[in-house]
């Protein structure tokens, strides 16, 4: 890139989430700053303009009308919209929560039946607007975030795969906790990217990166129930981090 060209502009925003991605981005900002101009990042700076930018990173799920308005505005002002984090890509735990309890019921319970407060069932960004790149993770992996940003800064689509956690687990040469310890590891149906963090410390993957490409949910449920886990508990675990209900249609019928 020639030096007299203006730096690509980026924006970092959050809807409803835990601010984890903001934190990851904030912590890696010193690496990004030489190559980008941050036009808005309300979590981190006082001066924020909403104007056309090259890349917008959005964290969080759409959980209220205000989120939706903001998302629509951000989409209209960016070349690339990147959903960062499980909340933005899948809807994370709050989406799973909406599976077993209606939002209106929750609002009524919290704020009373006539409350002016509005909420939407938690949903990932692509339920409402086109998303160019989805970078799952809970939180996202900083190395992957920087590599993906490097591609986007040159206007290139990044290579993001959704192979299962088991791959990374075996590449690290961990003993399998599903086999050796009978733990309910969800590695086989969860997207890799974290570096198989949980099995690497001898714990079961609980699916925080969301489902891998074409997860074999039925086979997973079969194998866990053979290990003595009740089917409803298995379903609860499989859905806890926002895996869409469609993946379980056949499973719930059986």
């Amino acid at each position: 890139m020639s030096t007299n060209q203006p730096l690509p502009r980026i924006a970092v925003h959050s809807l409803t989430g835990c601010a984890g991605e903001l934190l990851v981005i904030l912590e890696n900002l010193d690496k990004l700053l030489p190559f980008v101009h941050v036009t808005s990042f309300p979590f981190a700076q006082g001066k924020n303009e909403i104007r056309p930018v090259d890349i917008t990173f959005v964290e969080g799920s759409v959980s209220q009308p205000h989120d939706l308005e903001k998302l629509t505005e951000l989409r209209a002002n960016t070349r690339w919209l990147v959903a960062v984090g499980n909340c933005a890509v899948w809807g994370c735990v709050q989406r799973a929560g909406c599976n077993h309890c209606s939002v209106q019921k929750m609002i009524d319970a919290v704020y009373g039946t006539n409350s002016p407060i509005e909420a939407l069932p938690a949903a990932p960004l692509d339920h409402y607007v086109p998303v160019d790149v989805k970078l799952s993770g809970c939180p996202i992996d900083a190395t992957q975030f920087l590599a993906v940003t490097a591609n986007l800064l040159r206007d290139h689509l990044p290579y993001v795969t959704h192979k299962p956690v088991c791959l990374e687990c075996k590449l690290k040469e961990n003993g399998c906790v599903l086999i050796e310890k009978n733990l309910p590891c969800l590695g086989p149906v969860t997207a890799a990217g974290c570096g198989a963090l949980c099995p690497s410390v001898g714990a079961a993957c609980y699916g925080c990166w969301g489902p891998c490409e074409e997860p074999q949910m039925e086979a997973m449920a079969t194998i866990l129930s053979e290990k003595g886990y009740q089917l409803d508990e298995v379903l609860g675990r499989l859905q806890a981090f926002g895996a869409p209900k469609e993946l379980f249609v056949r499973l719930e019928k059986s």
Binding site: P42, F43, Q45, M106, A240
Partner: protein
Amino acid sequence: MGNSEKKRIEIPEICRVEGHSAVYVEIDQGKVTNVQLDVFEGTRFFEQIVIGHHFEEIPHITSRVCAICSSGHVLAAINAIEHILGFHPNTTVSLFRELLHLGMVIESHATHICALALPDFLNIPDLMEFASAHKEEFSTWTILRNLGSAIQTTVGGRAFHPVNMHVGGISRCPSGDELKPLLEKLSFAQQKAIDLCSLLMQFQPKVRRTTEPTFLALIPNKGKYGFFGDTVKSSDGWEQSIQNYRDYLSEKSVPYSHAKQSKGRGKPLMVGSMARLALFHDLLDGQAKHIYQSSPLASGDTNTILNNLAQAIEVVHAIERAQEIIRVLQEVEEPQFAHPEITKLKPIAGSGSGAVECPRGTLYHYYDIDEAGKILQADMVTPSAQNTARIELDIREVVDQTLGKTSDQLEGNLETLIRAYDPCNTCATHMVSVNYL
């Protein structure tokens, strides 16, 4: 400004705080008639989300309430569940948990002081300028947060949302070799933290409020300054077991905000670093004690702005305590490979609470579990919810004092004030109603 004029001050989005919030102040006849801190972060209903899940899953789920204090939400959940199941972790596990928590305290305080609050004192508009024009402060932040995140990564398996902390123990004890580099980082960062205290002591508070706050914090275990305990103490002179938190904390929802407000025995509360120091400074030792004694806090100044300094003193303490813990853990005899230290707990029906002192104050988790180990009911009371009423009171007092000044300056001052509390709005909006008896 004429006295009869009605005026409304609005700060539609407070920047450099965690989550989303706004402030509305209404002024009539030269008097503040209404103050609203509107947390408009989307609601997430965590108490509802966890229902039906097995207790083993809970720490992983509640971790997601907030990235900044995820370890706090993990440990509060674990404490509550282990309390219900009657389990007491061994010393190794307790020390690792404490170490993880200290890592979080260091990282959270450092980020709040340096990246969110300092720009107010240094007049920095954006990050670019922070990184280039204030290299020293920027690097202090980098060093401290890297330290906090290194501790959490070594102990918890990642910088936040730890994967290594479970109900019943920890799935892999980091080896002595893995802990060793932390010691080097800690001793390097110690001076930076001390310098940060000195820097903060130079700034003149921009605002000053009048009513003395009611402080509330956990009485630390083992008679040492710390973040874990089972009983709270109030600056009004009372103590209570956290199992009875509903007796002393009342929670209500306000129509204008997604966050609920808590009061302690009917009074606005202040929790967090200042509260802890005010109540337990005599338990400090080492450098932290020294600095405290030379600070305005020691002479009883309770100006909210000093919360930033209180946080910095806690960073110094956390660094010293972390070194102590690592030295003890290094003595633990170690098998050939890093070993688990975890007990598989059998479900018992019952209910109970757990609490920890998060960076921003006391965090309570309460669960009701059935005989299969599934959650029937849950409740979480966050520090930010406890502070909200106090923030509104502060705003009212500050606005009252400064009426007549230009609103520009006032708004800036209000933001500074709110920021000093380090409110965590994602934490504050996790909640769903629990009907108190």
